[in-house]
């Protein structure tokens, strides 16, 4: 089975590096995109999203990526993100509270800050086991 190298890098540290068979992420305004081994060189800006990395040894690594960039070159996918959290490290209760607070705010007025807070909360919840009790469901 063909594999590729995946690097997930934040400014403070390298969050993940390893072999994978598939990476799914979401570009700015372009919707979701999946990279398989042998993908053509690609550069994209990412939005807040739930990124899924299918590992070679089986299983999927769930990551909440809050904006950033993806570079595909020479069978290596590099994801650069200011803030990225591995699914296991996410505090679901906090994310749920943040989601409710953002939704509450959005009912009253359309606020850019609240919109991005909501998409961050969605990314976190989706990456940490799916969105429950929301109208939108998982991405």
């Amino acid at each position: 089975m063909a594999t590729m190298q995946v690097e997930l890098v934040s400014p403070e540290k390298v969050l993940f590096t390893g072999e994978a068979t598939q990476v799914i992420t979401r570009t700015l305004g372009g919707g979701e995109i999946a990279f398989l081994p042998g993908h053509a060189p690609f550069l994209g800006a990412l939005t807040e999203c739930h990124t899924r990395i299918t590992l070679v040894e089986g299983g999927v690594l769930d990551v909440a990526v809050h904006g950033g960039f993806v570079q595909v070159a020479g069978n290596t996918v590099s994801i650069l993100s200011d803030i990225a959290e591995l699914g296991d490290d996410i505090d679901r209760n906090r994310a749920l509270k943040a989601k409710d607070a953002a939704e509450e705010l959005l009912r009253k007025e359309h606020d850019a800050e609240a919109v991005s807070a909501l998409s961050r909360a969605h990314a976190r919840l989706s990456a940490s086991g799916g969105i429950v009790g929301t109208s939108q469901g998982a991405h």
């Binding site: 934040s10 400014p11 390298v14 700015l28 042998g38 060189p41 690609f42 550069l43 020479g74």
Partner: protein, 319 residues
């Protein structure tokens, strides 16, 4: 009186010993933090390397379409902003003064050229120094010099970029202490905005595909848009790297300063103990003399028979 001097000396020795304990503790703390700070500098390298790579490729591929002022620069530079990175605390030898002196020199040169300047101070020491001397401070940050986080770098970056785009600054330079190794650090001045041509150029806009042959990138969204979102991140990454370097240098400087302070305290204790011992010896000798002469004076009034003064009188005459 002689006993009083000895007491004063004992007090001084005790106080120097207490200071020595503090400087020794600070030295050990700084030494342990250097390692941690060095690891953080190393951990930030992959991100800044990759982002530099991406910026190069983007600038080559979509450089003509990008009108980003961060890249283009201004034709006429009137205001230069200096981001001066120092520590929040003192007791670190010449660390703060080195950076401050470098920044002050640049500012003075600008003023002589008839240009204006602005200072963005990072660290409480720089803020205090430049505020006291009446320099023009545009913004100041502080409270995180020994362990900066990316969020703080982003705050500074966003502020600087916003002011640059608004036209408040025409050029931004970083002044900080670069960490080379635990034994050597240097104060450096690095251009931050507009981005150096050298860092941006050099990319061919192509990347090896899976087979290893160079081919054009696909972009999503278009290269210009990616570059516009990427450049502020790049500036933030540069500031973050500078903050980490500065933090590691601060610990190294503090360790050295505290080591020599501890050595000096040891030396001082040794000298003071010598003086104290001599003073004590002197006071004991004086006391014996007083007792002897007192006894002599008392015996002088009594019957001479009880004490045989013969040999003593002989000694006295021979001297």
């Amino acid at each position: 009186m002689a006993g009083g001097q000895e007491r004063i000396l004992r007090g001084r020795i005790r106080s120097v010993q207490a200071t020595k304990k503090i400087t020794r503790a600070m030295e050990l703390i700084a030494a342990s933090r250097i390692v941690k700070a060095q690891q953080r500098v190393a951990a930030a390298v992959p991100y800044s390397e990759t982002i530099t790579d991406v910026v190069k490729d983007l600038a080559a591929a979509g450089g003509s379409s990008s009108q980003s002022p961060l890249l283009a620069g201004r034709a006429e530079v009137t205001t230069t902003a200096y981001v001066v990175i120092t520590a929040d605390r003192g007791l670190c030898g010449g660390y703060n003064s080195g950076v401050q002196r470098a920044a002050e020199g640049e500012v003075k040169a600008d003023v002589l050229d008839g240009k204006s300047y602005a200072l963005v101070t990072v660290g409480r020491k720089a803020e205090g120094y430049f505020k006291f001397r009446g320099y023009n401070i545009a913004a100041s940050y502080g409270g995180f010099s020994d362990s900066p986080t990316y969020a703080q770098a982003r705050e500074i970056g966003q502020d600087v970029v916003a002011r640059y785009i608004a036209g408040e600054f025409d050029r931004v330079e970083l002044v900080y202490t670069r960490f080379i190794s635990a034994g050597s650090q240097e104060v450096v001045l690095r251009p931050l905005v507009p981005l150096e041509r050298a860092t941006v150029e050099g990319g061919d806009g192509k990347a090896p595909d899976a087979a290893g042959t160079p081919s054009d990138y696909e972009f999503e969204p278009d290269p210009g848009t990616i570059l516009d979102t990427l450049l502020p991140r790049y500036v933030e990454a540069r500031i973050y790297a500078a903050l980490l370097n500065a933090a590691a240098s601060e610990h190294a400087f503090r360790q050295r300063a505290m080591k020599s302070a501890t050595d000096n305290a040891e030396e001082l204790i040794k000298n003071l103990s010598r003086i104290m011992n001599r003073a004590r010896q002197d006071s004991i000798t004086t006391e014996i003399m007083e007792i002897v002469s007192g006894a002599e004076a008392l015996s002088g009034g009594k019957n001479v028979k009880t004490i045989d003064l013969g040999p003593i009188a002989d000694l006295g005459s021979s001297n």
